[in-house]
């Protein structure tokens, strides 16, 4: 395997962790997420992904 690819793969988890840590920082000026909002986000995710399934299945009978 190319040594550069090996190094990139070795460093990938650290890079991703750093990006996630940066993105995970909460803004203290914003109110915390409520349970109702989290449930709404979940429903939206389920609706969105199922709509994509339905669209693909409808166009590939």
């Amino acid at each position: 395997m190319n040594p550069l690819i090996t190094v990139a793969l070795q460093q990938l988890p650290a890079v991703i962790a750093a990006i996630q840590a940066h993105r995970a920082q909460a803004n203290p000026d914003l109110p915390p997420l409520t349970d109702a909002e989290a449930i709404a986000i979940c429903r939206q995710a389920l609706d969105s992904t199922e709509a994509k399934d339905d669209l693909w299945l409808a166009t590939h009978p």
């Binding site: 803004n27 109110p31 915390p32 997420l33 349970d35 909002e37 989290a38 986000i41």
Partner: protein
């Protein structure tokens, strides 16, 4: 969207090419990212109670399952896999989403069963493309959703 699918497919090719090393990194990354995020859109998730945490767990599991479905869709577009195989995977994905949506709790066992059966229903010629993704999703669900 097309760009996202292309990235997924390139990641898939890379995974297939580099084998276990890349898959291991991908799985570790997926598992790590499946814990609920500390914040969403800058808003802290620290004060969520069990229903809120469970909802965000589902969101993360859906993201993991979407990787399988999206890889199948793009592989079909790229003529890497036949439409019949992609349909099997998309249909299974839809079934899982329905199970998660309608179950008030305890959907884990049913979803794991569907994923296990999905591996057996994928034609032999296409299994190598998708089984690693399915195994990764199974690992995520087992590890994160208690």
């Amino acid at each position: 969207m097309r760009q996202q699918l292309r990235s997924l497919y390139l990641a898939h090719i890379l995974t297939m090419t580099l084998g276990g090393v890349c898959l291991g990194v991908a799985m570790a990354t997926t598992v790590a990212s499946c814990a609920i995020p500390a914040s969403i859109a800058g808003r802290s998730t620290a004060q969520l109670t069990a229903p809120g945490v469970q909802a965000l767990h589902i969101v993360e599991v859906v993201k993991t399952l979407d990787i399988i479905r999206d890889a199948a869709i793009y592989a079909e577009v790229a003529k890497v896999t036949p439409t019949t195989t992609a349909r099997i995977i998309v249909t299974a994905h839809k079934s899982i989403i329905e199970v998660v949506r309608e179950a008030t709790g305890g959907w884990k066992a049913t979803v794991l069963e569907i994923l296990t059966q999905l591996k057996q229903h994928i034609p032999e010629a296409d299994r190598a493309h998708f089984v690693p993704y399915i195994d990764a999703a199974i690992s995520v669900i087992k590890a994160v959703i208690q």
